[in-house]
């Protein structure tokens, strides 16, 4: 069952840069200590990564600069060969694929968006988007037709004949997105696609991205080092440090139950109300009868409903997807989340 569902599966993947990486890895017997490798002139990019991504899921990879996010992505797209470990794409072993199979895979199943857009400077918007199709051997007419559709999809209509240098950053990234989608890939890689954009445009592009994902429903690996972005987009988040995946879990779990000290520090400053859903603070329906008239969904993020709940002196019932009441929230709990432990005491007093 899980084999059928998992589109990407990593099994103890290592990537170590340096001359004698393979040999050192063999000697290390799977226990890689970054410092030791560094001394021998090797850099650890990815250290024993094992995880699965299911169909239609969006996994966001997070971490500080140099933590190996891009390297992990490049291993999974086989832009670099992993030093050790296995990677399966829809059950097929990526690491043992021939060049030909790999090219087939990329031409039909994968799309990638890059941080610095990576558009071809000598091609127009339309030609850039049509490029993967032309590479595949589609006729110019078909490719251009499809590219025009993609231009409409990302909202660049009217700029088809512009060159990348004539576009703003946000527009260039739209081209990048359109190009990666032109071949209708099943798997979509995005490596910090919005980090070169200013905050306003970034927000706009995130909305756009969510809209597209709503329509397309792809399996996505998304790299970012912006926690807000991760929270907005992710089904699950993987946090990396020095090549090791410290924790891979839902946003709420990562914030509430950090697996390691590093993750705790990392998530310390994250506003809980932005992460947590009502589900996580609701209590079972007790013997209380005096409910408020307000109803909230169990999947609502606390931040979005906090004001209404706080304004209500009574407990607010929580509904699930079928509109059944599954619990209640008290304003005290919400205050707790909003202002931390100390404020609880005050409100109690």
């Amino acid at each position: 069952m899980s084999d059928q569902q998992s589109v990407i599966k990593c099994d103890s993947v290592y990537k170590i840069f340096g001359k004698n990486a393979e040999k050192m890895l063999q000697n290390a017997n799977g226990k890689v200590v970054a410092e030791e490798f560094q001394k021998a002139g090797c850099v650890v990019g990815v250290n024993n990564a094992s995880f699965e991504v299911n169909k239609g899921e969006m996994l966001v990879v997070m971490g500080l600069s140099g933590s190996g996010k891009s390297t992990l992505l490049r291993c999974i797209s086989r832009l670099t060969d992993a030093t050790a470990g296995n990677i399966y794409i829809e059950g097929e072993d990526l690491t043992s694929m021939s060049d030909k199979e790999l090219i087939e895979l990329r031409r039909n199943k994968m799309g990638m968006v890059f941080q610095s857009f990576a558009l071809l400077p000598h091609k127009t918007v339309l030609e850039n988007i049509a490029f993967p199709l032309q590479v595949k051997g589609n006729s110019t007419k078909d490719s251009i037709q499809r590219a025009k559709d993609m231009v409409d999809l990302v909202g660049l209509t009217g700029r088809e004949n512009y060159f990348p240098r004539q576009l703003s950053g946000g527009q260039q990234q739209r081209v990048g997105i359109a190009r990666s989608l032109a071949v209708e890939p099943d798997i979509w890689f995005l490596d910090e696609p919005f980090s070169a954009l200013d905050p306003l445009i970034r927000k706009e592009m995130q909305d756009e991205f969510l809209r597209l994902q709503g329509v397309l429903n792809k399996t996505i690996l998304f790299v970012t080092h912006d926690f807000d972005e991760a929270l907005r987009l992710a089904d699950r988040i993987a946090i990396m440090k020095d090549g090791i995946i410290e924790q891979l879990d839902t946003p709420a779990n990562i914030v509430l139950n950090p697996a390691t000290e590093y993750v705790r520090k990392f998530t310390e400053d994250v506003p809980r109300e932005k992460v947590l859903k009502i589900k996580s603070v609701m209590e079972p329906v007790g013997d209380e009868k005096d409910f408020s008239d307000l109803r909230v969904s169990e999947d609502a993020i606390i931040e979005t409903v906090a004001e209404a709940v706080l304004a209500d002196p009574k407990s607010v019932p929580v509904l699930n997807a079928n509109d059944d009441i599954v619990g209640v929230v008290h304003s005290s709990k919400v205050i707790h989340v909003l202002f931390g432990e100390n404020s609880t005491l005050e409100s109690n007093a």
Binding site: M112, H122, I144, S180
Partner: protein, 814 residues
């Protein structure tokens, strides 16, 4: 005390001081040999006559030094032999060579992490280290030994030219022979395959050039020239047999047709501006009566340039793909950058003979290296993300190279194409030395007759062709397709149709010329071709200008010239020649050490040693003296002009334009007025050199100052700096590394011109090369001389590059 403190804070300054002091001390110690070291053969002669000793023993050397007298072997590097007569047979040197090699290799082996992979990973290093070891052990150590303790004997180094010559002769005539049927003697004869091969290349090039040329100016003789490449007679025979058929009198394309074509092509590729440039360029060529030689040159360029571009891209791509190719090619490119053109010509004559094809070969050899360098540079600069994007789009290797890498690197590659075109036309004159026809050849004639006006017009023709070709190729590369227009056949092909229409119209027009001009006395159809003596000319005007200058300024100039020669140049030259060899080494290697540590000292020292060991040390010193003078003056003028012009936007634009024009302008032209004013003296050569070499420092100063970050300038203004303070405290220091690269280019340019100065009459390396060229050519001497010049350039290049890199790192630029 404070002085000592000052120095101790500046170790480099102290080092420089020490080097200079030692240098001057050594300079003053020539004593006994002062008059002999100006010419090597004087020194050798005195040795032979027994007047002086070539070298003295250690104890005696010491006592001589204590008496303020350098021992002879330090004053003049004697003519060395690599094998000391006494221990020659004892295989000591082979042993030394092996020991050095083994030492180097052991060091590399001990340092490697993975011993079992060592051979596979380091094979290139191993070979090169082995090579270094053998050279050092077999050549340099015995050389040094001999230098101090040996006898003056004929140097093996001096034999190298002859050896190379013999080798090339062997290669051409005797190596790997094959019988070839010779129709003359009706028998088979043995030919060397190498010669057959070079001949085949030459014939192919000649065929291509003639094909284009006959289309442009020859007419039906094309067929003949085609046929003649492969056998000597059949073409002419055939033509004679078919003399009265209509097609045998089909003429070449009239200039009117070509000009109309140029207008259309320019319009099609870019627009009105280019159309006008291309069209009027053609009109200029025709109206000034230079159509025929211009087309000869054009045919030559149209063959040489594409071949150079093709080779350049191919080798650039190979170097990008393979580390090994890159490592082999890089030093070759460096040498090619400073190798004098004339030195190329000698081997080319030997291998390819004389004629248009030889000129083309020379041009290709000369124009390809910049193309390789720029292709490689461009490919390396493609961002890794774009490469990844290409791979993720599913490109296979071929698509990745031709659809992603090369187009993305296009900016640099196009600069390369521009360079190639410029080089091809710059070579037009030099190639005419070995038989290339066209503008260059005519220019050379005009120069010989001291006809300034004509030379100038020819020069403008060359620049025009260069500019038009450059712009056309650029526009062609930048063309884009419109996918939206749903066009009918006529609309889509309107330019082609227009071209066909204009072609026939102009053809008719030219044909009508037959009647129009039939009445005039000479019966020349001006619409078909304007012969070179029938065009308009501005020659009298220029001639009058020169005459005016000569008659009015000559007296003053003579005084200035005399002063310069007597007070500056002669003493400078004399002091260069009076340098004892050891002093030269101390100075150059010392500066090398200060700039780049031991490594640079060794690099520079090796270059110098090579020159010192050849028979041309004095000549090299003269070259260096002219180089130094020209570079100092050029840099002085260039930086000042650049700094002034950069203050004003329009002046900046103007000066850059001037730089561009002067760079393509055939450098020979500068020589005429200069000779007329200054006569055949070093002054003439130096002025010509300075006019040419002043371009790079000007350009780099402008660029460097313009690129100083805006924010820093604002910061300076905010802290209340005056304009001058800002200039000297902020702008110049920051732009300095870039300006130094300009100085580097200045040296390359100056070296190029100093060598060409041999044309006027110098006594330096260039003259020697020129003589090799005209005396039929000894390949070995030609090449060795070439390397001497190249090594001077490379030594300077190495020092400046090392310095600029360090400096830029320090300033945190790029």
């Amino acid at each position: 005390m404070s002085f000592i403190n000052y120095l101790s804070e500046r170790p480099k300054l102290t080092q420089l001081g020490i080097v200079l002091i030692v240098f001057f001390i050594l300079m003053s110690m020539t004593g006994l040999y002062h008059d002999l070291i100006v010419e090597r053969h004087l020194f050798a002669k005195s040795v032979v006559k027994g007047e002086i000793q070539s070298s003295v023993g250690f104890a005696e050397s010491m006592s001589m030094i204590l008496n303020w007298q350098l021992p002879p072997q330090l004053v003049r590097i004697p003519e060395l032999t690599f094998y000391h007569p006494v221990i020659n047979t004892s295989a000591t040197y082979v042993l030394i060579a092996l020991l050095v090699t083994a030492g180097l290799l052991y060091k590399s082996f001990a340092e490697s992490v993975n011993k079992s992979q060592w051979l596979r990973v380091n094979w290139f290093q191993i070979i090169s280290k082995g090579f270094v070891g053998i050279i050092v052990g077999l050549l340099f150590i015995p050389t040094l030994y001999n230098w101090f303790f040996g006898e003056v004997t004929r140097s093996t180094f001096w034999e190298i030219p002859m050896m190379l010559q013999d080798f090339s002769q062997y290669l051409i005539f005797e190596f790997w022979q094959t019988p070839v049927y010779d129709p003359e003697i009706e028998d088979y004869e043995d030919y060397g395959r190498v010669r057959l091969f070079t001949r085949a290349i030459g014939a192919t090039l000649l065929f291509l050039i003639n094909l284009v040329r006959e289309l442009l100016i020859g007419g039906f003789e094309t067929v003949v020239s085609l046929a003649n490449v492969f056998s000597d007679q059949s073409g002419w025979d055939w033509l004679n047999e078919n003399k009265d058929k209509w097609y045998s009198s089909v003429p070449a394309i009239p200039w009117t047709v070509l000009t109309a074509g140029a207008f259309i092509l320019g319009y099609k590729l870019q627009g009105v501006g280019l159309s006008i440039l291309a069209g009027f360029g053609c009109i200029y060529l025709a109206v000034f009566g230079q159509w025929e030689p211009a087309m000869q040159t054009l045919s030559f360029v149209l063959v040489a340039a594409p071949v150079s571009v093709l080779f350049g891209v191919i080798w650039g791509v190979l170097a990008y793909k393979s580390r090994t190719v890159e490592r082999v090619i890089t030093p070759l490119l460096l040498v090619a950058q400073t190798f004098p053109h004339f030195a190329y010509l000698v081997p080319i004559i030997v291998f390819f003979g004389i004629g248009d094809h030889a000129g083309a070969v020379a041009t290709i050899i000369f124009a390809t290296p910049p193309m390789i360098r720029l292709t490689l540079l461009g490919l390396k600069r493609v961002s890794p993300e774009v490469l990844d994007a290409g791979r993720m789009s599913g490109c296979h290797n071929y698509q990745l190279m031709f659809k992603v890498l090369i187009p993305t690197a296009r900016r640099d590659i196009l600069i390369g194409v521009n360079q190639v075109i410029m080089q091809c036309l710059a070579m037009a004159v030099i190639a005419s030395f070995i038989g290339a026809m066209g503008l260059g050849f005519n220019l050379l004639l005009a120069l010989n007759q001291l006809r300034v006006g004509q030379a100038l017009e020819l020069g403008v023709c060359i620049v025009l062709i260069a500019v038009v070709l450059d712009k056309l190729s650029l526009a062609w590369a930048n063309k884009q397709t419109d996918y939206f227009a749903d066009l009918s056949f006529v609309e889509r092909n309107k330019t082609a149709l227009l071209f066909v229409a204009v072609f026939f119209a102009a053809l008719l027009f030219a044909w009508f010329g037959n009647w129009m001009f039939a009445d005039t006395a000479k019966g020349i159809n001006y619409f078909y071709l304007i012969p070179h003596n029938k065009g308009i000319t501005t020659e009298p005007f220029w001639q009058a200008g020169v005459d005016y200058m000569v008659s009015n300024w000559r007296a003053d100039i003579k005084i200035f010239n005399k002063w310069l020669l007597v007070e500056v140049l002669m003493p400078m030259k004399a002091s260069y020649l009076a340098m004892p060899a050891i002093a030269t080494f101390v100075l150059t290697m010392g500066v090398g050490y200060i700039i780049g540590g031991i490594r640079s000292a060794i690099v520079v020292g090796s270059f110098m040693l090579f020159i010192a060991l050849t028979p041309w040390w004095e000549r090299a010193l003269i070259t260096m003296y002219m180089l130094t003078f020209a570079v100092i003056v050029s840099v002085f003028i260039g930086t000042i002009v650049g700094a002034i012009c950069v203050q004003n936007k329009r002046a900046t634009k103007f000066i850059l334009l001037v730089c561009d024009t002067f760079q393509t302008f055939p450098s020979f032209i500068y020589l005429i007025p200069v000779i007329m004013l200054f006569g055949v003296t070093d002054t003439s050569v130096l002025i010509a050199v300075i006019v040419y070499a002043v371009i790079p420092p000007t350009r780099y100063t402008v660029e460097g100052l313009r690129n100083v970050p805006e924010s820093l300038l604002d910061a300076a203004d905010m802290s209340g700096a005056t304009k001058l303070q800002r200039m000297f405290k902020i702008e110049f220091p920051l732009a300095f590394p870039h300006i130094m690269l300009g100085v580097n280019q200045c040296v390359v340019f100056a070296l190029f011109m100093v060598i060409i100065g041999a044309f006027i009459g110098t006594e330096d390396l260039g003259q020697e090369i020129m003589q090799q060229l005209f005396s039929g050519g000894n390949i070995g001497s030609g090449l060795m001389l070439g390397f001497c010049v190249a090594f001077i350039g490379l030594a300077v290049d190495h020092l400046i590059q090392t310095w600029a890199t360090k400096r830029r790192k320090l300033l945190g630029i790029d």
